[in-house]
Structures are given as C-alpha cells and as structure tokens.
Amino acid sequence: MAPLVEMTGITKEFTGVKALSGVDFRLEPGEVHVLFGENGAGKSTLISILSGVFRQTVGTLRIDGVEAELNSVHDAAARGIGTVFQEFSLVPTLRVFENMYLGREPRSGPFIDRGAMRDGARRVFTELGFDIDINRRVSDLSRAQQQMVEIGKALLARARVLILDEPTASLTEKETRKLFDFIVKAKADGVGIVYISHRIQEFAQIADRISVLRDGRLIGTVSARGTSERELVELMTGRSIDQIYPDISRTRDGATVMSLRNVQTWGVRGASIQVRAGEVLGVAGLVGSGKSRVWRGALGLQPLISGQISLKGRDVTGLPTRKLLRDGIFYLSPDRKNEGLQLMATARDNIALSLLDRPDVSRSLGFVSPGRIRQLSSEIGRRVDISPAYMKRAVVNLSGGNQQKVLFGKGFGQEREVYIFDEPTVGVDMGTRAALYRLIKEIAEAGKAVVLISSDLPEVMNLAHRLLVFSQGRISAELEGPSITEENVLKHFFTDAREPA
C-alpha cells in the first residue's frame, strides 16, 4: 500500500533564504509521525507546504501514491488534509459554529443552513468530549478553548491526514488526555497524523516515528520507542545540552531593585514580585497565564488596574513607559517585528535610536553627534556579535537571529538596572541562542537584575536562579535552585482551577 503522504526532496526558498533543503517525509495510514526541531528548523514550512499554504520550490508531493499539486488550503482540504495551525485560523468576531464551517458552509438553496452547522459542530464536540458552547463568540473563549475549536474544525472536514501544530501548547492536562484519546481513536480509523510539539515527554505516549529537522535539513527519522529524550535533544541541537546553557553565578542576597505589589491588570489577578540585583529571575507559564502581561502592566504598556510598582526604592506606579525606561529599565519585546524594531531601518540606526538620550552624544542646541553615535553603535554591534556588514543592512533583510541581536543591542546603549527579556529567543537558531545566553550571563554577573520571561521551558529552567510560575493570572509557584525541575514547573502550570468562564 502506498503511504498516505510522500514528500521527496522538498526544498523551499523564500527570497534568498533556504527554509528547507531536500527534505523527505513519509506518513503512513494510522501513524502518528512527530516533527521535532527548534524554532526556525523548518517544521512549520514543511507542514505549510503539506497544507497548501506555500508551494515547494523543488521536490514532489504524493498523496496516496499520486503526485499532487496543492495551490491553496482549499485544495489540501479537498484531498483530506486538515491542519490545526499554531497561529489560530479562527475569526474572533464570529461564533464557534460559524468558524468551524468557515469556507465550507452547507447550503440549502442559495442560503446557508445554520441549523445543520449548529448540529454538525455540536456532534464533533460531543465525539471529542470537549465542553464548548458552540454559540459563543470565539473572542469570549479562553485560549485552550480556542485550541479545541481549532481541532474540532479540522475534524469536521473528515480529514485523513491531520496536521497538529503544537496542539497541547495551551491545553490543560485533562484536555491533553482527551486529545490523546481522540488521537488513538483516529489512528485506529487509519488517519495519519503529523504532530509537532516541543514536549518530548508527550512522544512516548502517542508517537510512532519522529523526524528531526535542523536548519532546514532532515537530520533523521527514528522510531519513537527506543530513542531517549537526551538523544532527541542532541539530534535537534547538534550539540550536547551543557554547551548551550552557560552557568551564571548569582549575587547572594542582592538588593531589591524593582518590586511589584499586588499588580492587577488585564489577564493578571494580583501578583507581587521582587526583582533583585545580580540574579536571573525566570518567569514561566502557558500563553495567556499572565506571565508577560504582569510586566507589561507594570511598565504602562497596558492599563494597570491596581497595585504598586517601585524602582530603586521610589514609587513609580502609573508613570508613563518612557519615564520608566529612562529610569533604568530595559524591556525586550517578545514581538520584535511589531514592537521591537524599525524594520525598514538599518541595524545601525535601530541601535542608534537607543543612544540619542546619552549625554555624551549631545551637542549644543539639541543636535547630536553623528560620529559619536557611529562609534558607539559599532561598539555595541561588536558586543552583541553582529558582523559589520550587517550593520548597514535594513533589519527586515536580516535573519531572525540577527534581528534578535539588534534588539539586544538596544539594551546596551545606556546603563540600566533592570533588564526584562520577554521571550528573548523566539525564532532564533541554537547558535545565536547560545550567544544571547552569554549576553544574559554578562549582564547578570555585572550585578544587574535580569527578568527572563519565556515559554521555552529548558531555557528558563537552565538559566533562572529563581523561577516564578504563572497560572490563570496568578503566581502559582516560586521555585529556587534544585526545586526547579520540569515536573515541578509543569505541575504548577495547571494548579489553579479554571474559573467558570
């Protein structure tokens, strides 16, 4: 029997950048095939080709042994390929059942049959055992519920190939179990499942085979049984774990530089945090747990409902963001494209922007010294390891890793006391990560306070001296030293019982 999907020699180039080169991938009926790799390794590109979002530059794609050309998501769906995207393909302003049938509304005569849509949607969720009110607007649902709608939507199409891109990223343990039950059922029906996840511990439960990608190449396909977690990580990164995360020495009993007291803001229901000098404070939690928003609230990036913020012993509650930044806080946005960088400007100009307030670049009448700025920005460029040739390129043309280095560089323009890094290594390759981690080490060991907010568990666990876990808008645990274990952290992701919506 021909495999459900057979991709051979798939190469994909985006204007000058090779996202995939010569990747082979096979999916058999009734198989769960895991794609494993870092961010930017090419997993998303590969499934985007399979689900019809992009066309491959080179290579062939066979479905049931027949060569296929997928020109749109619609094409792929028509051939029985259903995808649960990581970036949700839900329309927040529409109701659940409207979303599930979007693009394939059943009709009676010229009109859509809303009754049939409601029935069909309800049936899918009953089958899945998910408890969702199909008449609610998607914007009213929690992220986990949205994820379940997304899964329901793919199932509704009776897909034979189901692509799940990080489906458990925002599910609770109970919901994850339900999803796995469903996966087992679907396997028995001969559905082939492509499964993307960073959670290695899940693989043992459901996976049959694992394909590891690195830098757009297939490193190998291994059987899920008999491959250890350590082996997988080393396949993924191409180096041993100890080489990646530096050992950061900690200042004992460092002074409290910044403190948050009972902060309430959107998505945060009260959190008190002490930020100490010479220490890396890790902040973990699911997307939507409030781990990032508590800082955004403190910095005035979203309205602060109540609570007090103090910086170096001074009450700074409610001060505008620019004043807080001037007073010694550096905030690295998780969204470098929208919030962090001027994409059309050069790397140098982006870094220079953070230098304009320095007294040593000012001349009389408010002019600045271009020569001094040039010199300083070059120094910073060297420090964060951006090659001089890249300094004069528009940031939009740089790789994710180099963009992130520029963003880090903006933090070195002036002396700061507190460095808040929100998802500092999103979409960054392992080599750059190691470089960024070394920068974090330098900063912390120079006696500054570092706050590291991250969804990447190994990252926060390995770098943080003290780790806060957020769940449902509150701090559910504060761990220190040896008590920072994966089991402990994950347990606290879900401790707070979910409120009735």
Binding site: V73, T83, L90, V91, E98, F111, W266
Partner: protein
C-alpha cells in the same frame, strides 16, 4: 461572558453597561435626540413628521447599507458620493438622449438610462475593489482617489451644468410616486434592507465578509476566497449607492454632479453609531438601518430647532468622532474582559 461580567455590577449602571456592550452607543444617542427635540418642538414626534423622516432617510439607508458592507470587510468607502453623482449624471444624460430618440417608449428610455447609471457605478465599485483587493492599496487612499476621479468625470461630462429635461414619468414615479400609499423610494429601501439582511445573515458571501473583516489571515487559511469577497463588497457598495443615486435624481428631476456631497461622512457616521466596528468583522443590518434613520432624524430635528446648516456640519462631525471614541471603549470592553 461579557453580559455576565457586566451584570455583576448591581443596579442600573450595570444594566446600562450591558446595554452599551451589546448594542453600542445608538440607543443612548437615539433616546437623547428624541427627548431633546420633542422638548424643542411639539411637531417633532408627530406621525406626519416621523413619516417624513422615514421617507427622507431612504437614500442614506441605502448608502449606509453599502458602507456597512465595506466597513465590515475592514475598509471604508469615501467614494459613495461620487458613485451617486456619476449615476445621476450618466443616467440623466442617457435618459434625455434616449427619450429624444424614441419618444414613444419613455419607459424603455428610463430603464436603459437607469441601467447606464448602474453600469457607471459598477465601474467605480470595481475600480475600488480592484485597487483594494488585488493591489492592496489602503481603502482610504483608493476610495479617496476614485472619489476625485469620479467627481472629475461627472463634471467633465456635464460641464458642471445640471442635466435637465428628464422624462416626466421618471420623477413622477421614482421620486414622488406611491404604491398602495407607500412612497416608491421607501419600497426600494425596504427591498434593499431585506436583500442585504439575507445576504449578510443567510449566504456564504455574508459569512465570508464577516470573516474577512474579523481576521483576514484566518479567513484565508479557512479556504475563503478573500480577494473576491473584498472586491464584491466594494462593488455591492457602489451599486447600493447607485440605486440611491437614481432615486435622488428622480426626486430633484435633474442629473446633478453635487448630489451626495456629504453622504460619505453621513453614511460612515450612521454605521459607526450603529455599532459597526471600524476594525471590521462586526456590524448588523438592522442597527445600521436604525443608525441611518437616526442621522436623518437628527438633521430633521436640528432643522425644526432652527439650527443653521453650518452649525449642523459641526455637530455631525463631532458626533462621528464621539461615536468612534465610544466604539473604542466598547471594543476594549468586548476584548479586554476575559
């Protein structure tokens, strides 16, 4: 969730907040207008005046329905006034020429003239749709540009002089006629409302339009033909404006380039006040009809209160901005509470 969290606040304040989140600012504006104007003039609430307002509101209702389609798609159409002017001029010129050519078949001339008007508006809508959907020009710039182009064409065709000598039957029926006592323009509006309601609530096009405006990327990933949907929204908007244009031409009994001069602003105001989100994806037909009715009612009331037209412009503009501010607040309440 929004009603529940709002109802946690006890008493009338919570009720008002729930009402605001659900329906937007319109009920409050409408209540305020009714109270103020009925105090100023005893005639205001008379049946005769309200019927009059209903008849006057027909044109704005039709255009606002079109504007709503485009707003829901996430854009807006500044060229609705131009669509009206071009329709007026083209249909009038065609009717005059055809009626002279075949004096025995006045109704054929009227029909063909009307179709010529629709055809010209269709071109305007297609131009807008092409620019926005295919070339990704921002709706603001595209429709602003087309608005200038269309106005220029209308002026060029007529030299700025109104086109007179329209067949008597045209104005008599489409402008002033009644069927079973109901003014003909009102019938057009009623049919328009029903058709657009069905379109938005019961057809794929409607579902896709809400989706495109709600999240373009998600709609695309769900297999919605987003470009076609956007394109059709602009075409439909121009056609609805064009119908209003023909009816207005019949009412003034001449083809005029200055018809619909302020209607872009008025229709956007009507929609926004009626809770259509400027971010797209949200908006209901019945509320928009009420919104357009409200704007006409407001103008009627201000006339009765003898507020000059200059001052009316100031008030209308301020009201639009106020409505947008309230929309912003409401959006935050909708999206922020979780």
């Amino acid at each position: 969730m929004t009603d529940q969290s709002a109802s946690k606040l006890a008493g009338p304040a919570g009720l008002l907040k729930a009402l605001f989140i659900r329906l937007g600012v319109l009920p409050f504006f409408l209540a305020a207008a009714l109270i103020i104007f009925s105090l100023v003039s005893t005639q205001f609430l008379s049946m005769q005046n309200l019927t009059n307002v209903a008849r006057q509101s027909v044109y704005l209702v039709l255009v606002s329905l079109g504007q709503m389609l485009v707003l829901i798609s996430g854009g807006f159409d500044l060229a609705v006034g131009t669509a009206i002017a071009v329709t007026s001029v083209v249909s009038a010129m065609a009717m005059v020429a055809l009626a002279a050519w075949m004096p025995d078949m006045v109704w054929v001339a009227i029909l063909l003239g009307g179709l010529a008007g629709f055809g010209s508006a269709l071109l305007i809508g297609a131009l807008n749709g092409l620019g926005v959907a295919q070339f990704g020009v921002s709706p603001f710039i595209m429709t602003l540009g087309v608005q200038s182009v269309g106005a220029g064409i209308a002026l060029f065709l007529t030299g700025g002089v109104p086109v007179s000598g329209l067949p008597f039957e045209f104005g008599n029926f489409f402008g002033f006629g009644r069927i079973f006592g109901v003014p003909v323009p009102v019938l057009f509006a009623l049919v328009g409302i029903v058709v657009i309601w069905l379109l938005m609530n019961r057809t794929r096009f409607g579902a896709h339009l809400y989706a495109v405006g709600g999240n373009l990327k998600a709609a695309n990933l769900s297999g919605v033909h987003t470009k076609r949907t956007l394109f059709l929204a602009y075409v439909a908007c121009a056609l609805l404006s064009s119908i209003a244009g023909v009816l207005m031409t019949a009412r003034v009994e001449s083809g005029e380039t200055n018809l619909g001069g302020t209607i872009a602003l008025e229709s956007i105001a009507a929609c926004v006040i009626a809770g259509v989100s400027l971010r797209g994806g949200i908006g209901r037909v019945e509320n928009v009809v009420l919104g357009a009715f409200f704007i006409t009612l407001l103008q009627n009331g201000m006339n009765m209160a003898q507020i000059g037209s200059y001052l009316q412009m100031i008030l209308l503009g301020s009201l639009l901005i106020l409505a947008v501010i309230f929309d912003q607040v409401r959006y935050r309440m909708l999206m922020g509470i979780r």
